[in-house]
Every structure is written in structure tokens, then in C-alpha cells.
Symmetry: D2
């Protein structure tokens, strides 16, 4: 007889959608044996699978959250029950509590740090007493974090190699463009119960994340407007079919806004004056500083929670401006958030995994400072993902390899 | 001082997004004064606004649900507290309880029926004792309901005019293509935590709903496959860029399936044998009969609820097939469902409103049977929606009107 | 040894791309035996193949052009050499000469007329003396022609059945949307040596042709603007992602214009004042009256032929406005025009063929006036096109057929 | 009275569409005064405008063609009549004659070489006697040319700096993706009189050019298939919505093929066996070696020119394979070719111009070898193009600049 039963492990469905991590977890070799790895990221189910993978590869893992808002209670509970995994986070913890938890984590003896937004790196600078001796290196997962690590490098503050995992082709396309693009839009659309077709959607910043959101919104029928500070990205947005306007003009026509610049105060005082009644502001960048929510709150007469993650700011002139998820990451926050699709995080965390493995094994080969992830490691992840997806590709023939390697081509094709 | 307070009325946000209904509600004329209207639809917030609009236009409203799964408790509660509105439904009611509630509603003295899937019409046939005398007419909202009403007309069973509100250009494009297209995809994507980009998505049926889902999925990067029984729609799907295959072949390559045919057993025994491990089946048609869920359950060894609205059927050969929301409407069911965007339902319910108004006032002008909604009423809704959206259009000049009206064109353009 | 030789028959390549016509031509049955058929259409290669098909099916064919600008000399030459085909046209003939040729053609004893833009029908009205006695019927190929035939019907001037072949689903989607959409854009882009990506493209009219052009331009990265006089089409354009503006406003922002309204003077005096310097005006409607070229010429200081089919009108205020192909059909005119892809015309002419066959055989079954092409004939064409394209579709099961036919569905699915 | 007159200069229309070059030509400063520049590129009208711009900036220009097939006679004639411009090319010249002309050109005293496909660089290696002493540097315009220059660098053969102008963001997006993407498709579609909607289009190589063609074909309704040798590009093609297959499998399902790999024999013997009857092969890469046309000719029984740039190869088993433009660049060859849109070449040649200016002025600052074009020069071009297009963008505020430069962000946003 057939009965409905709840799945034994709530992470099973997620794990099945992460076949590349599964292949690393299942390997009989344990490349991380004896290594301690710290992970500070969004504590959602796919991160849980990543942490288990590190552990299955031999590591002892200390994990915490990168943002207080994206901690899933059931993930914390699940990880707490795992061997060789130590959790420094709890659902609904305050910013202060998270700060203390991160500091506790940094007090451990750590070999490799896996960071998101470079949070742990910054914390180390602020608390030099915490600094674990002998860190082999850092694997950083986000655009914002890489920017920040480079600023630290300029200030001469990096004393270990930092892999810019975010900047690999695989990460950019799978995660930033398609992962964030799809999930930010579906999360906000569902929460706000609106359509994209025909809407005026403003996207600030035409990097990978902005491009994913703007392009997908346009494909779904939105009238998209892009704001930029780099003329080259502005031209690209233009030929990709978006209107390009300064934010001061975009503010006047937009209905739905997404910031994705990695910078602060992208929508701020001068724009609040110009926004239309009913405009909805969302952020898809790492930090909650792109929309100047505090500035908006200061000028509002009434602030009301209208449900589904939306706060409405009623301005003295009668206009209502709505902010989604307090300006935190639109695809990870709000009542319905599921984070990035697990199969996308599979590629991202696989890249983090090979970066961690490289740092644990050959960390000494790299000078302190920010490094690109070596191409052969990015290819390794891509090959495994192709295999998981059943994608078969060509190989160069001998003749083709010779053709590429030489400038004397006539001999080869005749 | 500024404080965060919860909005007084949970329907306010929805109401603001339905400006056309608002304009009818705000009118000083009450075209429905003295009329009793029955509404059987999905009891979600936008339906609540529609019911209030009928009431504000002078009607006494009796409302019930068209499906037991799509009843929102807070909507029921809200409507219960309204004057001149009588609710025959409750959240989590059983199919049997809904059946009794619908019969109770039909026992009232009713002038116009607003139906969804023709449920009330069918019920009237099954219980001829209930039939209210002197119904002015019926406004039907869905493709499935119109098909059904036509079958009843063929059997000589209609004794009142039925407006095929679903079949107006406004309804088709706003609601079926864009409304269902967007919301079915974002609801399923969020629930299943998957991406569309690169997925093999099979859409059964290339009517308005199927076209919306298939086209939007393709725009988001899916490899789409369409199945059809009409060679003309098959050709259209082909030139729109979809692969067209019989379901028996599509079953072997699809990862995510949406049925939108208005027919039964579109995915059934012969296809279950061919589905890939991990295939996810969803339905976007009115009735839950398109995916043969019972047939799947019968052959499964283990049936488990894996969360997020997904039931997993493990077959004897080891393959797992997942069904979303038990094969009920993918955009209205599941844990995150918000239904169609309110601004889309604004147009659909505005068309239902003018249909109801026409039936209440000039119902006698129409013979029993299925009728198209008169063009001038569809234009009225479109004009009001254009106004609400700030869309300004051209008018024909005198010269242009003469040009269209004559076949002797040389005189006009010279 | 291998040598390069020119193909024996310049129409061979076209014929190979018209497999549905080929199947009618190859049939041993000759349904048109003893019938005389007049064809007035664009005398391009695919029309030549159509004319031969009619002949192979047994007809004697009298053919002429619908427009003087779209006569291909080699097609005329080829047809002249065919048995049972009589040509009333010559390349580069004047409008007057074409008028005389059409009148000569109408002086023949004709059974069925195949018309484009209803040209022959109008001519018959203007010259009642010519009217052949006993015409079985007319098959009309274009939107404009059907509009015109309907105006004649209103004036009580039709004394034979007219099949609105244009209005079949097959014709609309294959020919108007995809055929004209693709060929108008590629013809103008090549001639004007410009890109679409990022351009402001204005499309007047959101019927099938307008929709094809606007949607494809948007997909290629254009910022599209649609003008309309029907609020329902305006809403549809809006949700399809186009900006909707009155022409007076569109004129100020557009760079490239396509008219597709079937009406006259869509871009005229009031708009010429507002066009930007360098604006390019093109027409995709049947008649060359949509852009008021005469009005533009009157106000220009200098008119120069700048090559590639473009005439530049220099206005007194210094602005230059360019008109493509004198406002005639953008996809059929200009120096590079190839007309619609042959495989698209295969479907259109196949629909014309079955319409002609029906009129020749069962013409008496139809009353004088405009008729839809019977659905089973449109399906016949679609089935043959599916076969030619290798597209395999599903059939309704018995259970599914019963489900559609009844309103008592519970019995069927349980 | 108004008369039609032919434009005085056939290049005027092109020149108007190249505003960035025009701004350099109009400058009173002559940064290239006293410099001799060699240009070897496709001698089409936009290249003519570039050559005049170099001259107007003070240079003496020696120009030749990069390919014998893409020489426009009227461009040669026009340039021949210009002061300080020396032409080493003629329409319809043989490969041998072009080789002699290039060698003659290299015999001049040259400061900067502007190359396409690195043709001149290779020629210099093959004829060391020709090598002009004291070349300041080379600006290379294509992907293929950069690959080739890098192979020469590896072999220790570069003794001057080579700017990889092709590899700038501006060039990639404007020229490769959108320019080649649009023009290759519209050129082939017009020539072959086919539609893209519904066609199976195979694109070999998912670099910038391949991405442009594949994406635009897909947007127009094609069923696209991509072949790759890099698993990272394969994944990207997959999530962008293309099927990814090895060429051996793609050969069996494709109807229309575009090669864009920069490699040789991408479609060769093993694929000829598998191609469908009627397959059309086109190349969009720099060299005509991607489709193994000689190999195809060898196995063909009959080779016939079927018009419009298509050669048909009839194989012994009866299948016909058609090759467009002998496998030379699909967007520059064939009977209707207009090359890239002038406004796109405006950006590409502006980048070539600033590269030339930098090499002439600060060439000594760069070591021999391949260099990226400095970012500030690419930005200069982008800023001028934005200005020409009327695109206005934002600037970083002081606060935002500080935010980017520091890792201590809390101080800045609070």
C-alpha cells in the first residue's frame, strides 16, 4: 500500500540538484583531510550542502552567516547535527549577535576562509587580535567582496592569497546572470503580485547581475531602463535594447527599480524627489546600502508594513514609495525567498570547492593578494557540470590545435 | 515621529492595483442596483475586490469558490464582514463541503451568474431543482468554461445567454498569455527552486495559456517543446521557435512539463513509461484532469511529500516523477501562490463587470446560448485600462475613416 | 571531372522550397481541369511556382501583376514560355500600362480570380463592361484586399463568393507575422546599412504585419514604439513590451518608421514637422498611401536619390527625411528585394490553391460575399506543411474527444 | 522647382553615419601629422571613411585589402582620388595580385600598421626583406588576428607592440556581437530567400561572433544548436537557451550552419557524410578555412552555381549541400553584402584610430608583444559614441568613489 510520508531529510531535494558537489563528496580521495575551513555565506539549504561537501572531503568546517536576514532556521538545525561541522549562527539573530558569532568563529584555528562579500576579511582587519595565524588563503564568492579585497590589497592589508572565485566565467554566467536574474525577478514579482510585461523597470548598474535582471525583464516584456557610470557598459546596454538614462531621469519614469552596482546611495535624496507615486525599490547588490533606506525613512510621514516584504513610505506630498526587503538582497530576502536555484549554486560552490582545495594544497604557490582562479580549475568545474547536464562537446583535432598555435596557417589547411 | 504600522485593510494594496474596477466602484451611477449576482471563482484577494465592485455598483452578491484549493482564508473573512455580500465558502473546506455550499448559493434568487470553469452552470444541470427562475444571463471567465458551455448548448441545455468573456482580445492577451504565463512560471520556479535557463520545458497545448508559458519560458532561456493536436497551432509553435513533438517523444526529453490543453489525460500511462527520472509535472489548465495523477499514484511504490507543493512518485524502476500542486492550477496553487497579478485581474474582472452590467440591463436582447462579448464593451474596458496605464493612442482622421469604408480609394488619397 | 555550371532553370531553387505546392502539382488528379484562373499578384519567383501549380492541376492561367514595382523580368520571361499560361505584364511597365494589361486580362472568360489587394475586384467595378459572366469566386490574399472586399460587400457590389484567404490562421502566422516581419526588416537593414540594435523603431499599426515587424525589431535590440487607433491592440502592444504613443509623439523620437495599418496618410503633414533629422520612413502595408510621400515632396527644397532605394527629402529647416522604396512595400521593393521567403509563400499559395479548388468545384455552395476559408481546408494546408517540415503531432484519444464534447466530465476522467 | 539628383559623393551617406570618426577628422589638432599609416582591411565604404579620417588627422595612408573578395570598386576609385592616400588594391583582383600589392605596400616607409586578421604581420614574417625599419606598432582589428599575433609572440617574432583592438569591450559588443550578428544573418537570409523562424541553425563557436549570430537567430525564432570545444562556453550557450551538441550530431539536424571559431576544418569530411539534403553552409570567421570547401568539392559529382552567392555540391548519394560565398565571410560577401553597418564600424575604427594615435605618439612606452588597448582609450571612444547617440550617463559621487576605494564601508554609508 502506498502512503504519503514526509521526506526524511529536508535537504535531500536540494542535494539531488547539486550533482557536481555530490561527485566531490562521493570521491574516495579526501583532499581536505586535516584542513579547517571557515564558511561565511547565506545560510540557505544549498550552502548547507556545500558545507557538508567540504566535510565529506575531509575538512573540519566552522560556518557562520554573511547576512543576518538570510539565515534559514532549518539549515542551522540540520548543520548543527552534523559531525565535524560547527555552526556560529541562529535564525532571527541580531546584527550584534552575528558580529559576536563571526568573531568567535575567527578565534578558531583556520586554514582557508570561504567568504561572501569579504565579510570575514573585513572583520579580521577590524579585530587584528583575532587573526588566525597561518591562513592558507581565501576564496571569495561575490563581486562586492572582490572589490573590497582589492581595496584592502591597495592598502597593503592582505597577507594571504584571495581567489576571486566570483570572477570566473562559470560563476558569472551561471550564477550572476542567470541565477540572480531569474530569482530576483520571480521573488519580487511573486511578493508584489505584479506583472513585468509592460512595466517600466529601472536597473542601476550593467555588470553581470544588472545585465541578467535587465535582460530577463526585457525578455518578459518590460520596458527597461539602465543607469550606468561607465560609458562602455552604457553603450552595451543601449545595443542590448535598453534605454540608458541618468538616474535622475530614470527616477521619473520607473515603476520598479533594481540596484546592482556594488556601490552605495544609488537611489538617494535627489531621486526621492522625482520618483512616481507607487514606485517599488529593490536591491540585488550584496550590501543593503544601494537604496538609501534611512534617507527615505527620514523624509516619510508614515511608514507602514503593507505585507509580503514591502514597507511603504508615505511622503509629505502624498506619494508612496515602497521598499522591498529593506533594501537587502532581493533574491534572498522577502517572505517567499528560496535563494538561488540549487543547481546554479552547485556550479558556484563547486568553484569555491576547487579554490579551497587549491589553497589548502598549493596555497604557498600564490603570493598574498587577489588572484584569478586558475583556468584549469574553472574548466574542471565546467566539465563536471557539462557531464551532469548530459552536454557533450567537441575536442580540437590535431590539425586544429596546430592551426591555433601557429601563425603560418597556409601549411595546415592546404 | 514615524512608526511602522500594519496596513488597516489587507486588501488595500490589491485594490490600488485595480484602477479600472475602482473607477466602476467610484461611479455615482449604480447600474446593478436591485440585481443579485452570484460569483464562483478563485477566492483570492483580487476576486474580493471584484465582489466589492459589484456591490458598490448596487448589486447584492452571493459568492463561492470555483476550486476548493484556491480559497484564501483572509479573503473569506474580509468578505464576510462586508454589507450585501454573502459568502458560501471556507478555507480548507472539502470538495464535498464546497459542493454543498455551491448548491446552497444556487438556492438563492439570482439574476446574473459570474462563473469560472462553468462550475455553477454544470451544477445547475445536475440539480435541476435548484435552478433559479429567470436568470438574465451568465458571464464565463475561462477557456474551459466556454468549451463546456458550448457542449451544453449543443445538448440544448442553455436557457439563458452566456457571455464568453474569456474570448475577448483583452482577456486573452492580458490574462491568459501574460498573466498566467508569468505567474505559472514564477510560482513553479520559486517552489521547485530551479532555473528555466537551459531547461527542457514541455508545454502541452498552444492556445493562449500554452503560448504564454512556452514563449516566456523560451525567452528566459529554456529549450521549449510544444505538443499539439491541431496542425495549424503546431505550425505556429514551430515558427515561434519551439520544437513540436508528439507527447510520447516529448516525454523522453522533458525536464519540466506544463499542460494547458483544456482536455484530460494529456500526460498519462503511455507517457509515464517514458519520463526521465526527476521530471516535474505541472498543470496550467482549469481542471486538475490534464495530468493523470491517479494513474501515476497507482503505479508508484512510494509517494512522498517533498515539500514546497511537490509530491514525489517513486516508480518500481527507480525513477522519481514529481507533481506540483496535485495537478491543480500551477499559478494559483502551491505554497507561494499569489494568483494572477492584481492589475491583470483588473482587466479580466472589468470585462466580467461590463458583461454582468449588460446582462442585468439588456439581457433580454440576447438569445439563450454562448455569445461573444460585444466589441464596444471590450473596447470600453481597453479604453479605461489605457487611461489607467497612461497610454495615449491615435484616432482615425476623417480621411482615414472614409478610406477604410470605401473600396474606391483613389479619390481619397489624391 | 567536376565543373561549375549554371542551373538550367532559375526557378528550380525556389520550387524546391515550396514542397506543399509541389505535392499538388505532382498529384495525378487534376481538380482544376477545364477551369480558367486569373492571378494578379507580385510577379516574383514564388508566384511563378504558384501559377505553374494551378496549371499542373489542370487550369488555364491568365496572370498579371498587382503592383507595377514588384514585377521580376525573369519571372515574366519564364512564365511566357509555359504552356497554358498567359502573361499580361512586363518588367518596368508604367502604372498606365499595367492598368491596360489588367483590363485585357479581365476581358477573358474567367472562372476564379486570385487577387492581391483586391485589385482585380476594384477594376471590375470600375469597368462593368469587362465583367466576365459567371465567375465562380475570388480568393483574396491580403488584409487590405479583404477590408476592401468587405466595403464592396457593404455597398452591395459583390456578386460572387470571396474567400478571405488572408484571414486563416496559417496565412496570418506564417506569412504576415514571420514572412513580412523578417523580410521587411532584413531588406531595409541591408539597403540602409544600419543596425536595429539600440535604434528607436516606430511601427504604425499592431495587426499581424505590424506585430511581426515590431516584435522582431524588439527581439533584435530595437527600442520599439507602436502607434494604434484600437485601444485593445494598444494594450496588447504595451504588454508585449512596446511603448505605445500617438504618432505625433512617436514622430519626435523615432529613427526608423514602418507603417502597417492598411490605411492612408499615417505619416503626414503634422508629423513631418516633428520628425528628427535623418528619420527613415518605410511602408509594409499593401498600398503606397500610408506614408504621404507627395505631401513630403511638396514641402522639400531638395529631393535626391542617395542610393539603395532611398530618396532623401531636404526640408527648408535643414532636416533630411529619407523614404525607402517610395513608400511601396518594404519587403518587396528596393534594390535587394527577394520578396517573402519561398517556403512561407508555399503555405500562402497552398491556401490560395485550396480556395481556388473549392471555388471551382463547390463555388455554388457559397453565397456572394466575403467568407472565411473553411477550417478543414486550412487544416489540409497545415497538415501538408507539417509533413513537409517533418513535424509530427498528437491525435485526440477517444476519451479526450468525449471530454471535449460533453459538459458532464466527471464520468470521463474517473 | 524640385528635382531628383544623385548625391555628389557616394560615400556621403556612410560618412554621416560615422559621427565619432567625423569628430576626429574635424579636429584642428592633427595628432598623426608626419606619420605614415598602413591599412589592410575590407575595402568597403566605411573603411574608406576611416582612411580619410587618418589622413585628415595628418597621416599619409597606404591602404590595401585584407581579403580579395571584399574589395568594392567604387571605394578603390574614391580613395584613389584622395590626397595623401595611396591604394594598393583593385576590384576582382586575384589572390596572387593581392599578395603582390601587399608586398609593394610593405616596401614603403611605415610607422603604424592597421591590420585585419594580422595579414600584414604574417606577410612581414614571410618576407623579412620587406620589413620596414622602425615600426612604432600595430593595431589589430579581429579575434583571428589577435590569436595569430599571440602565436607569433610565442615564437619570439614580434618586435613591436600590437594593440589587440578587437579585445576591447566596445569592439566586442558593438562590432562582433551586434554588427556581425545582424549583418551575417540578414545577408544570408536575403541571399538564400529563406526564413529563420523555425529553422534549425547550427553555430560553431560561442565566442563574441558566434554568440551574436546564435542569439539573434534564436530571438528570431530559430532552433539553435551550438558546438564548442570549451566546456565553459558550452555551459554558457546552454543557459542562454541553445542546444549544445558535438558537430557530428549537429550535422545531422542542422539546416543552416555558421562557423565562427577562428579555426580550420570545423565542418569537414566526417560531417559531410551526415549533413541533411539541402543544408546550407556559411562562415562568419575571418578566414575561409572553417568550412572545408575543397574537401566538399572533391567528393561532389556536380557543382553548380545556383545564384545569389550559393554553390550547390551534389554528392554521389544524391544529397545537395550548398555553400554560401565560397566559405568567405558571410556578412561581407555574396551579391547583396553591405558589410557591417557604418555606425558600428564607426566605433571599431574609432578604437583603431586611438590605438594608432597612441602608437604614433607613445609607441615607445609599450614593449614588443600583444597589449590590451589601455582602458582610458576605450572609454574615450565610448564617451564619444554616447555623445553621438545622445546617451547621458551618471557620474560617481564623491561618496560613491570613496565607497569603492575603501574596504571600511560602514563609515561612508552611515
Amino acid at each position: 500500500m502506498v502512503e504519503r510520508e514526509h521526506g526524511a531529510d529536508p535537504h535531500d531535494r536540494i542535494r539531488e540538484r547539486m550533482p557536481v558537489l555530490a561527485s566531490y563528496a562521493a570521491s574516495s580521495v579526501q583532499p581536505l583531510a586535516g584542513t579547517t575551513v571557515a564558511v561565511a555565506s547565506h545560510l540557505e539549504p544549498s550552502t548547507g550542502v556545500y558545507i557538508e561537501t567540504l566535510r565529506d572531503a575531509g575538512a573540519t568546517v566552522y560556518c557562520t552567516a554573511s547576512n543576518a536576514d538570510s539565515i534559514h532556521g532549518d539549515v542551522v538545525e540540520h548543520l548543527d547535527a552534523q559531525r565535524d561541522v560547527n555552526v556560529f549562527a541562529a535564525e532571527d539573530m541580531s546584527e550584534d549577535a552575528l558580529d559576536r558569532a563571526q568573531r568567535d568563529l575567527l578565534g578558531q584555528d583556520l586554514d582557508v576562509l570561504c567568504t561572501d562579500g569579504a565579510e570575514l576579511l573585513v572583520k579580521l582587519q577590524s579585530h587584528p587580535d583575532l587573526s588566525p595565524s597561518g591562513i592558507d588563503g581565501v576564496a571569495e564568492q561575490t563581486t562586492s567582496g572582490v572589490t573590497r579585497a582589492r581595496a584592502m590589497e591597495t592598502d597593503g592589508l592582505l597577507d594571504a592569497p584571495v581567489f576571486a572565485v566570483n570572477h570566473t566565467p562559470m560563476k558569472h554566467w551561471f550564477d550572476n546572470v542567470h541565477g540572480t536574474g531569474e530569482s530576483a525577478l520571480s521573488n519580487v514579482m511573486l511578493a508584489t503580485n505584479t506583472r513585468l510585461a509592460g512595466r517600466a523597470v529601472v536597473v542601476a548598474g550593467y555588470g553581470y547581475v544588472g545585465r541578467g535582471i535587465a535582460t530577463k525583464a526585457r525578455e518578459l516584456g518590460a520596458q527597461t531602463i539602465v543607469t550606468e557610470v561607465d560609458p562602455r557598459k552604457a553603450i552595451r546596454a543601449h545595443v542590448d535594447g535598453h534605454r540608458v538614462l541618468p538616474m535622475a531621469e530614470a527616477a521619473e519614469v520607473g515603476e520598479l527599480f533594481f540596484t546592482a552596482t556594488g556601490n552605495c546611495h544609488v537611489i538617494t535624496d535627489e531621486h526621492f524627489d522625482r520618483l512616481q507615486d507607487g514606485a517599488i525599490l529593490c536591491n540585488a547588490g550584496h550590501s543593503d546600502v544601494e537604496v538609501d533606506v534611512d534617507g527615505l525613512a527620514e523624509r516619510a510621514d508614515v511608514v507602514s508594513d503593507i505585507g509580503e516584504g514591502l514597507i511603504r513610505y508615505r511622503l509629505p506630498d502624498g506619494r508612496a514609495i515602497e521598499v522591498f526587503a529593506d533594501g537587502t538582497l532581493a533574491n534572498l530576502a522577502g517572505p517567499y525567498s528560496q535563494g538561488h536555484p540549487a543547481e546554479i549554486m552547485d556550479a558556484t560552490f563547486a568553484a569555491m570547492f576547487v579554490a579551497t582545495r587549491e589553497l589548502a594544497g598549493q596555497g604557498d604557490d600564490y603570493t598574498p593578494g587577489v588572484h584569478q582562479l586558475p583556468t584549469h580549475l574553472d574548466r574542471e568545474v565546467a566539465e563536471k557540470k557539462c557531464e551532469a547536464l548530459g552536454i557533450d562537446i567537441d575536442s580540437l583535432t590535431d590539425r586544429q590545435r596546430r592551426y591555433l598555435d601557429t601563425w603560418r596557417r597556409e601549411d595546415i589547411v592546404d
